[in-house]
């Protein structure tokens, strides 16, 4: 029963692609109304319209408790930035679990994961007809002996032009296979670790931005030196209105919930931006799977019609 409910949520919300789905949150509405008031006075400069952000003395975010505290590895520390202003303001410093973000990146596992993602959903619909499927070819073209020409039984034999194909593609051909549970788990860990190690991972407090102007996001990404393509990951699959509207026109700024995260997307986008809530959720999930005591049942081979 629970699984069915989850299924409905996923199909309704996440796969409709989150960047088109928005609900105005409480904090954003106040900024939006302010924005509207200023628009009425017909000021065209975006920077002038942004309300100044008033913050308590920094650092706001002090520490973070790690689940399954690491015994022999040091936690990695990262800055937590803001999305309120174009310029980066560091709100604090947090710890990241080394089992998730500081694993030695295994390039072969990453490759396996990318290959699996590309292939497991692929179905080839290429088809060729066999000699008995091609139209015609039931009659013997000429008598066996006497004509002086070669002997044939059918005009659709594979040696004839227009004849059937012997070992050609047969539709539909599925290329489905399931990669091992731990291989996929380690693929995620390797990719996250690689992203952090290569300075392509950034943490923000939340995805609330002051305007829905696409140029705000452009300027922000340009100012901070984030890659041309950025993947924003939040815990909830319903994203704030402003960032949804701002990123909608840009195909290379994409929003994703934590359950939608995958190796291919992380590699396709240059920069990965996680919210604090997303980090909590991601770590909780990955550490749960690493430390569960019924891992054998979870890592069992996939059986058809079992799910």
């Amino acid at each position: 029963m629970a699984t069915k409910i989850i299924n409905k949520t996923v199909t309704e919300f996440s796969l409709r692609i989150t960047r088109c789905f928005f609900v105005p949150s409480k904090t954003i509405q106040t900024n939006a109304t302010l924005f509207q008031e200023r628009l009425e006075t017909s000021i065209t400069n975006v920077e002038e319209q942004l309300p100044t952000t008033i913050r308590p003395p920094l650092p706001i975010i002090h520490s973070r408790k790690l689940a399954f505290p690491p015994k022999f590895k040091a936690p990695r520390q990262v800055w937590v930035s803001n999305m309120d202003t174009v310029e980066e303001e560091k709100l604090g410093l947090i710890d990241l679990h080394p089992e998730v973000f500081a694993e030695r990146p295994r390039v072969d596992i990453i490759h396996e994961n990318v290959r699996w993602q590309q292939l497991y959903r692929h179905v080839s619909y290429a088809n060729t007809k066999m000699r008995y499927e091609v139209r015609g070819g039931g009659k013997k073209p000429r008598q066996q002996k006497g004509s002086g020409r070669s002997r044939h039984g059918s005009i659709r034999s594979p040696i004839w032009r227009g004849g059937g194909i012997v070992h050609g593609p047969r539709s539909p051909t599925p290329y489905f296979y399931m990669l091992g549970f731990n291989t996929r788990l380690n693929g995620l860990r390797s990719t996250l670790s690689a992203k952090l190690a290569q300075d392509d991972l950034h943490i923000v407090d939340s995805l609330d931005i002051p305007t829905d102007d696409p140029s705000y996001l452009e300027k922000l990404v340009e100012e901070r030196g984030w890659g041309p393509a950025v993947l924003f990951v939040d815990d909830n699959d319903i994203m704030p209105l402003n960032i949804t509207a701002a990123s909608d026109s840009h195909g290379h700024y994409n929003l994703m919930p934590v359950y939608g995260l995958n190796v291919y997307s992380m590699l396709k986008h240059h920069t990965l931006v996680l919210t604090l809530a997303a980090v909590e959720r991601l770590e909780e999930r990955l550490l749960f799977h690493l430390n569960r005591n019924d891992a054998a049942s979870a890592g069992q081979k996939y059986r058809l019609d079992s799910v």
Binding site: I6, V10, L185
Partner: protein, 190 residues
């Protein structure tokens, strides 16, 4: 001893040239350069510089037989180049391509039932694959058997008589071929 050292130096002469040797003349200092923990080799040649100078030649010795330059094919009478489709680069960031692979790890990262620990499986999200083909891994014979199983209940034989006949013929032929003409895999022999 010295001859051995001399042979070592001569064979490693190329390596020596690229090692930083300061004020070297005697064989002893050269021997030092062969193994000296204080010295280290420094990379100074990069493939990127070679590429920057110009295209790196590939397939040395291969002679291209297709025209690489000159006029495009055209009709002599009209003297106008044959129409070619205008090149339109693919949009790498359209919705489908930008979000490719989303939800593939939903069984790891998605919520799980607190009691049974059950999650959604990526095979449940293969909406663009026919329902009878989701999560199916097999050869043509196995796939066709599954197709027949799914299709025979819905009155497929009445609605698509030719396709039903083709399906059954194909299964029969594959049965004969696989069981009478081919050997079972080595791991099936006892």
């Amino acid at each position: 001893m010295t001859s051995l050292l001399g042979s070592m130096i001569s064979t490693l002469g190329m390596a020596l040239r690229y090692r930083p040797l300061i004020g070297v003349s005697s064989q002893v200092s050269k021997a030092n350069a062969l193994f000296n923990p204080e010295l280290t080799t420094v990379r100074f040649r990069y493939h990127a510089d070679k590429v920057a100078k110009g295209p790196v030649p590939r397939r040395h010795g291969y002679e291209e037989k297709l025209f690489q330059s000159g006029l495009l094919p055209r009709k002599v009478s009209v003297d106008k180049a044959l129409p070619m489709p205008t090149y339109k680069p693919k949009n790498s960031w359209n919705e489908k391509r930008a979000l490719f692979g989303q939800n593939d790890y939903i069984d790891i990262l998605g919520p799980s039932n607190e009691i049974s620990q059950k999650t959604l499986h990526p095979t449940q999200l293969l909406y663009h694959v026919p329902p009878w083909l989701r999560g199916v891994q097999g050869n043509e014979y196995q796939v066709l058997l599954r197709r027949r199983k799914f299709v025979q209940k819905k009155g497929y034989a009445l609605g698509h008589p030719t396709k039903w006949a083709t399906l059954n013929t194909r299964i029969k032929k594959l049965y004969t071929y696989l069981n009478h003409k081919t050997k079972s895999p080595f791991w099936k022999h006892s």
